[in-house]
Symmetry: C2
């Protein structure tokens, strides 16, 4: 039976989950996978934490040099996060010929090429299923499940924090601030929540997933990004009346005009499979030219779900002798000639305050029409004295058209646009 | 670049889909997978059909010996179906050292061990992702995605024909006969629909999936099976009133009492992710001890979706040098010592005709109570003269208890049980 010696760097949420799974499943893997996974060392400065988790004192290390010098360590699991020490330690492990498994989306998003080069030089492996959507095997699916397809759409709810906040606002009518506070109390959001609520986390993941799906580097800097901090419960409620649920979506599309990548809140029709993904669950919806629609659903975070992805990568690395290099098929930057579609198209939800006079709706429709925007649905939400609220959803149009339309409307005296949200066309 | 010569056996729905994908994506695979997949021969007695699909005349073969003798053929795709010629041809290909990719669930379910032995002897591969749930990579997920987990539940809607029929009955109130007729007109059901509507197809797939999930052979003969031919729109309607949707479920569970495997119609709570799987879509819901709940959703049949799984297997076989033998970990039969739980437990829906007299409901509750069955919900559906219809859902109880309860009720003069359906506890 092959024995694989493992080092875990960092015993945060994911590192601890990985340690727990490896400790409790060792015999199970011997029996089912014919491989013996032994944790040989753990890099963690907080010795008490490591001891409390059951790590034997003699296996606790405090510097990376010791870890990679250990001949019993074949595989290094990085659960530190960020691109400081994590990047340095992963390079150090790869340069020593150790296979690396990581859950670090920012690292893979920003430095995959540097890491792949180092891995290739030393014939080491580099695996990162845990970097996207927790325990849901979406990277395995793209690489080894539907790789026969030209994938033209990747759309997902890939950030649990924002999905929890939006679900809370939808179900209980909470304000953004109250929902965030509750998420923080439950440990779903960090004290500084900006990486999640501003959409950075989702951008890193979308960069990885769309690079794999479209077989070309999609830098995260090319992704249009808008967070959820300005969402009001009022818009969520109006959307509901129209049959929509608001989600923070990450969308990648391969269109005739080029690659379109964006992270922003969007209304989803309530009968779409993504609409029923609630709370801290995640889902990725893929469309391929042969398989059609596929959706993968599960927990996008947490110690054991993310640990599941890490240990599955360890088992994959330990039971396959081939190593895949250049998972990201091309150079470090986007390929010359790859178009990015920036003026993407969508349907749009607008909330307007309008003068409560006859003929006003016709004037709005006409102002919108002049910028190429036509109305699909419209509801008038009751008058407040001299003004009334109108909510409408447009037919598909371009981002640039909706911008001019909003400017045009605001310049009139009949209407003021209070809010603009995208409506996903999936 | 590695060149792989492919033979396709049978140009039915799946064989044709596979041929179409291989023809239209050849350059795409050269570019993205660095492999050249060339169809070298097609075994099809209907030459016109092959020519119409664009197969060059010189590549059409009429006997298997010719196919396997061709040194340019490295990999054989079996799309014949059944266990007659298909079994013989697959063995013939494996014995000649050709890797085999198949969509044949009956063949894998019944003869996987014979085929794996032959494959191992000749160092050939054997792949069968397309045998379960069309293009959805559920086998890849079990083997290479969540293999770090002890999976304790596999539950799915894994037959598109019955799901279409039940969706039709649910949405339009059609009778079983009318919904079946419509499914046949649309090509979703065969002229002889028994393999689908009696649950055999789902049994073959559940046998494969639960054998992989539970790491022990689960023979299809051990699966409890009940089809959908006796389902009445009346029960679907009453279920809806209680918040349930009726589905043909395949359920595999690893419980303390042993392995529990069954295929039968069951009510699913309408907020469960499986409830919204409509029409010809399929979904598999997996629960692992680390990852928690995972659901995979997509098209379970059709030329291109199933072709997607076949071609993904071809790419996997062509880009990985390792071959996995004994995918089914144990012997040909169920392992000695493996328990099968036959008296499984569930909640139950009962529809009763009862005398419209005061005190009757108390008598029913008392009769049920004597066999250990307690009532969770009950609705009385309006009187027809001297009798009235009562619909109830029990708390969790054993199959044996519900049988005695039904006998006891039918022996009284106060109630007659018209229908019994299981309610899934997922």
């Amino acid at each position: 039976m092959r024995k694989v010696g493992i080092a875990i760097l960092g015993l945060g949420v994911v590192g601890s989950g990985t340690y727990k799974i490896l400790s409790s499943h060792r015999e199970f893997y011997q029996k089912t996978q014919n491989v013996d996974l032994a944790v040989e060392s753990v890099l963690e400065l907080d010795r008490e934490k490591a001891l409390a988790l059951g790590v034997p004192a003699e296996k606790i290390r405090s510097n990376i040099a010791e870890v990679v010098a250990d001949p019993d360590v074949n595989l290094v699991v990085e659960c530190i996060g960020g691109v400081g020490a994590a990047r340095e330690y992963v390079l150090c492990a790869l340069n020593a010929g150790k296979t690396v498994v990581t859950s670090n989306k920012e690292l893979i998003c920003k430095y995959s090429h540097e890491l792949e080069r180092a891995a290739k030089r030393q014939n080491a492996g580099l695996y990162f299923e845990a970097s996207c959507v927790g325990g849901v095997p979406v990277i395995r699916t793209l690489l080894d499940g539907i790789e026969s397809n030209r994938v033209h759409t990747v759309a997902g709810i890939i950030n649990g924090t924002t999905n929890y906040i939006l679900s809370e606002m939808t179900e209980n009518g909470s304000s953004y601030e109250d929902a965030l506070k509750r998420a923080q109390e439950l440990g779903y959001a960090e004290a500084d929540p900006s990486a999640d609520v501003e959409g950075f986390d989702a951008c890193y993941k979308l960069s990885i997933l769309s690079s794999l799906a479209f077989h070309t580097k999609v830098p995260y800097t090319r992704i249009f990004r808008e967070g959820i901090t300005n969402i009001s419960p009022e818009d969520i409620r109006h959307g509901k009346e129209l049959g929509y649920v608001l989600k923070l979506l990450a969308i990648g599309k391969q269109t005739d005009a080029g690659i379109e990548v964006r992270v922003h809140p969007a209304f989803v029709r309530k009968d779409h499979p993504l609409a029923s993904v609630e709370g801290s669950f995640n889902a990725v919806y893929l469309v391929g030219d042969a398989v059609g629609e596929v959706m993968l659903y599960g927990r996008g975070a947490g110690d054991l779900p993310t640990g599941s992805a890490i240990v599955s990568d360890i088992l994959y690395a330990s039971t396959h002798s081939d190593i895949r290099y250049s998972t990201f098929k091309n150079g470090e930057k986007e390929e010359a000639g790859v178009q990015f579609a920036e003026d993407f198209s969508s349907a749009y939800y607008l909330r307007l305050t309008v003068a409560d006079k006859s003929g006003v709706l016709a004037k709005i429709a006409s102002a919108l029409g002049k910028t190429g925007v036509s109305i699909g649905e419209l509801i008038q939400c009751g008058s407040k004295g001299e003004v009334t609220t109108v909510v409408l959803v447009t037919h598909e149009t371009h981002e640039s058209n909706i911008k001019s339309a909003v400017e045009k409307l605001n310049a009139t005296e009949i209407a003021k646009v209070d809010s603009v949200l995208r409506v996903a066309l999936l």
